[in-house]
């Protein structure tokens, strides 16, 4: 096997020795790990790789150059001769997938050479996942047409779409394997991971049970899971998210497939784990010489991982080519839009007068704990507690944004709920000079000052209420004396503030949330919060459920509202890019503790705490 070269040292302890040997090459790889690939000469990036991978890469380069002009136009149909397709591992021609007459993939062509890493990138609904699933005919109730020629050396070329189901079963898992976005649902909760991997080996390679179990442990060890022997006996819920994804990868690689379909393999993971899993995938890909088709929406990931990229929009591939070429000179407007979608820092400068006045929200040693059951006899009499936020002290000045960043389980969302008075907490928390009371009636004024926008735009609007009912609700509580006509007027104003009006959406007020897209729903949620003129908005991951281009628009809207209305934000997010774009000050949380805080640029550019450093370096 080839020595692993471009792997991050910290992520893979077992490979440490090999990495030390690969020192010089690693240094030459370093720019690829950074975010800015466009400065790299494309040839150099490829050549920096190790010997065997370079050999396997060469046909790719030739193939991609000849079949794909730099514009990324679709290659001519049926013009590929037999010998050229023999140098390709997979060649998809004019793939069309439709559900009940609705075509979601509209005639795409792409190819993958052996050992090549192709990224299929696009926003949700662009048809990228359906494309991957249809290659193995795993989509239900879909009509698939076109050709997918799959060529393994010393075996006849087969068309995945026309071959019989039984034969395809032989290819699934053995020649083409797949890993999914959410390992918790992709693994069977009733079997240990070792058993699940062993099952694949037994099915596909027909080894004896004892050998299968041994092979499973070795595979787990290869993916960097410590104590592989013990972990093989663990059930999926006993593993951490990263370990689960490693187990999934081990399972996919059980039969050393020629092609790995990776459907958003890192999206469900925490930021700090994403890099590790990606490095692991690159490393295994190079060692096994397999090709990878990576489905993703994340351009950072494409830059870091792939050789070639195909950009999908609405069921079409609008552009494909080498990663460096596409990023340096995007040809199609949609590709340009995607690349430009990285949020831009545009924070409001608070007026000097406002800067001097009292903070909108002030927290002093806030601590939030949940009761949890104590196992055993002791649990009969008392309950333990889980401290989600240990000790948070902060102040949000008027017109400014405090960003709270951390990964899942760090307590940042709990802190948001406490700030909204929706969770009991200890310590002091004041907003607009008032504290939260246990009696709901006393909280009216403070509720008016602090409003919230949640992450998921699909669960944050009641599906059975009209836009008018949703947006006007706050007025019913806080300004009950308004007449229906006045309420309507205010609702329209508030909607206009977030960029939605009746000329755009006829009958806007009478519509229901299901008629709006994610970004539009998030605007509705903001309008609902703004209608009672709060001074502080708690934004709990306001854009993480949105596509990148929409995320940019919503962030721009929030920035504008802050500037116009002098709003303060408490911005909760896991995304350092969003913090960088929005926040004046930042607070980094880990396991319920505030590990670092300060002004945004200081913390992000010169992080002190090791955790912050990891977080910032992952972007």
């Amino acid at each position: 096997m080839a020595p692993t070269l471009g792997t991050d040292v910290s992520s893979l302890p077992p490979e440490g020795a090999e990495l030390a040997r690969g020192g010089p090459s690693r240094r030459s790889m370093a720019p690829t790990l950074g975010t800015d690939v466009s400065s790299l000469p494309p040839e150099g990036a490829e050549l920096a790789r190790g010997g065997p991978s370079r050999r396997s890469m060469t046909p790719t380069l030739v193939a991609s150059r000849t079949t794909l002009p730099p514009e990324g136009t679709v290659p001519p149909k049926g013009g590929l001769s037999a010998e050229r397709s023999s140098s390709l591992l997979l060649e998809v021609k004019n793939l069309r997938v439709s559900f009940a007459g609705k075509e979601v993939v509209q005639g795409i062509d792409f190819s993958i050479a052996p050992g090549e890493k192709l990224a299929l990138v696009g926003e949700s609904g662009s048809g990228k996942t359906v494309t991957a699933l249809s290659l193995l005919r795993l989509v239900q109730n879909a009509e698939i047409s076109g050709q997918a020629l799959f060529a393994v050396p010393e075996r006849p070329v087969v068309d995945l779409f026309s071959m019989p189901e039984r034969a395809l079963c032989g290819i699934r898992g053995r020649d083409i394997a797949m890993i999914f976005q959410e390992p918790m649902t992709a693994l069977n909760p009733l079997f240990s991971v070792g058993d699940q991997i062993a099952e694949v080996i037994q099915l596909k390679r027909g080894l004896a049970p004892a050998e299968c179990a041994q092979a499973a442990i070795k595979l787990l060890a290869d993916t960097g899971i410590p104590e592989a022997e013990r972990r093989a006996r663990s059930f999926p819920h006993q593993l951490s998210g990263g370990q689960r994804q490693r187990a999934m990868i081990a399972m996919a690689l059980a039969c050393q497939p020629k092609l790995l379909l990776a459907d958003e393999p890192t999206t469900a993971l925490d930021v700090t784990l994403r890099g590790q899993i990606l490095d692991l995938l690159s490393d295994l890909q190079r060692r096994n010489g397999m090709a990878v088709l990576m489905i993703t929406h994340d351009l950072n990931l494409v830059r870091r991982f792939a050789d070639r990229v195909a950009v999908m929009e609405n069921g079409h591939i609008v552009e494909q080519g080498l990663v460096a070429d596409v990023f340096a000179q995007p040809q199609h407007p949609y590709t340009r839009k995607l690349i430009d979608s990285r949020p831009v820092r545009d924070v409001a400068v608070a007026a000097p007068a406002a800067a001097g006045s009292a903070p909108v929200m002030q927290a002093h040693h806030v601590r939030v704990a949940y009761p949890v059951a104590i196992p055993g006899f002791g649990g009969w009499f008392k309950s333990g507690e889980f401290v989600a936020v240990k000790d948070a002290t902060f102040a949000i000045p008027p017109g400014k944004t405090l960003g709270v960043v951390g990964e899942s389980g760090s307590g940042k969302s709990t802190l948001a709920l406490a700030c909204l008075g929706l969770l009991p907490f200890s310590g002091q928390l004041q907003a607009s000079g008032q504290s939260w009371s246990r009696q709901a009636a006393r909280n009216k004024a403070i509720r008016r000052a602090v409003q919230v926008v949640f992450q998921d735009p699909f669960s944050s609007l009641s599906p059975r209420m009209t836009v008018a009912a949703i947006v006007e609700e706050g007025l019913l509580v806080h300004e009950p004396l308004l007449s229906p006509a006045q309420r309507r007027q205010r609702a329209l104003l508030s909607l206009a503030d977030v960029g939605m009006d009746e000329t755009q959406f006829p009958g806007l007020l009478q519509r229901y949330p299901h008629e709006f897209s994610g970004g539009q729903r998030q605007r509705l949620a903001i309008a609902r919060a703004l209608i009672i003129n709060p001074s502080l908005l708690v934004l709990d991951e306001p854009t993480s459920a949105l596509d990148v281009t929409i995320q940019k628009q919503v962030l721009a809207l929030l920035q504008r509202l802050q500037r116009e209305r002098g709003l303060s934000y408490l911005l909760i997010t896991h995304d350092v890019d969003v913090i960088r774009a929005m926040a004046h000050e930042v607070m980094v949380m880990k396991d319920g503790e505030v590990v670092e805080s300060g002004t945004a640029l200081e913390v992000l550019d010169a992080p002190h705490h090791p955790y912050t450093r990891v977080l910032v370096s992952q972007v």
Binding site: N443, R448, V452, F454, R464, Y512
Partner: protein, 346 residues
């Protein structure tokens, strides 16, 4: 973006999907027609004429009881309009009477039948008579009405109690939920049938008593579903957002959670109703149901069992019961499909 024609509420969309299911839609139409017709049973099937013109005066026997002497009879008793003597009086000298299509009431005994009871279908009694000489068609019409109204009442009471208790358990949660759940387990394990037998021995049987007893046990199944929906919906972000706005608990339950929790309630409605009709029929069959003399499907089935050679009793009752339950089941299926969020709009 969606055009304006898409701007329909979720319940309207569900209705559109329901009406596209032809079996369910026509079942609903037919069932509604049958129920409406049975509501006017007195006009369709009665032993009193709708209008009587006697000696240049109008009489409305449906609304008012007239003594036989009004029509120059011999006794000061309510008129028996089936008596050939009275009939003769009412058809002489320009007098006339407009009879309903089926001239028998629910308790009318045809003393003038040509055959012994139960008599087979004939021109006088289209579906024959039962073993007491009452017209079978009349019994079926009134029995159907009683069954449907009873089923409807039991369903409504069960839904109201079930939704309220389920909502409280699900929304408040914690100890309230725990106590309620244990209470329901105890309550639900009481032997319902024996209680009914005991109660029917203590109290005089009546429809109201039956309704009360069945309601005491009928709400629990639904309560569990509503509780689960409330538990799920109360932690949705839209509820949190409403709490952050300062909306009160009752308002949150009423405006936000309830409309989103009604899917299981609506889905189960037809099935609950057919279960209620079946329960009433079974109890009547066992003789534990409605008071004797009340037209009921269960009692007719019992008669059919007792008079096995009078095929018209068991066969026609069975047909009415099967059609009713089948219509309700078809409606329920269509409703379930219409409300299933996983089924795409076509």
């Amino acid at each position: 973006m969606a055009n304006a024609s898409l701007s329909v509420s979720p319940s309207r969309r569900a209705w559109q999907r329901f009406s596209r299911n032809r079996l369910g839609f026509w079942s609903l139409a037919l069932f509604s027609v049958l129920v409406v017709l049975s509501l006017f049973a007195e006009v369709l099937s009665n032993d009193k004429p709708l209008v009587v013109r006697y000696k240049s005066e109008f009489y409305f026997p449906l609304l008012k009881d007239y003594s036989e002497k009004t029509f120059d009879g011999d006794f000061d008793t309510p008129t028996d309009y089936l008596d050939p003597f009275i009939r003769e009086k009412l058809s002489q000298n320009g007098n006339w009477a407009l009879y309903p299509i089926n001239p028998y009431g629910p308790r009318t005994i045809n003393y003038f039948a040509k055959e012994p009871n139960p008599s087979a279908p004939s021109r006088d009694n289209l579906l024959g008579t039962d073993d007491r000489g009452r017209d079978l068609l009349t019994q079926l019409i009134y029995g159907f009405r009683l069954s449907v109204l009873f089923g409807l009442a039991l369903t409504v009471i069960g839904v109201v109690i079930g939704v309220i208790t389920g909502a409280i358990q699900g929304y408040v949660g914690g100890k309230t939920d725990l106590v309620f759940q244990r209470f329901m387990e105890i309550w639900g394990s009481m032997p319902e049938l024996y209680l009914l037998i005991i109660f029917s021995a203590i109290f005089a049987p009546s429809v109201a008593l039956l309704l009360l007893l069945l309601s005491l046990f009928g709400w629990m199944g639904l309560s569990d579903y509503v509780r689960a929906e409330f538990l799920r919906n109360r932690q949705m972000d839209y509820v949190r957002a409403a709490r952050a706005l300062g909306v009160g608990n009752l308002q949150i339950m009423w405006r936000h959670i309830l409309p989103n929790s009604l899917t299981p309630v609506v889905t189960f409605l037809p099935f609950r109703m057919s279960a209620a009709i079946l329960a009433l029929t079974s109890l009547d069959f066992l003789g534990l149901g409605v008071p004797p003399g009340t037209p009921s499907l269960g009692e007719l089935l019992n008669q059919g069992k007792a008079n096995i050679d009078a095929w018209w009793i068991s066969l026609s009752t069975f047909a009415v019961l099967v059609v009713t339950l089948l219509l309700l089941t078809f409606m329920g299926d269509a409703l379930r499909d219409a409300l299933d969020p996983r089924k795409a709009d076509k």
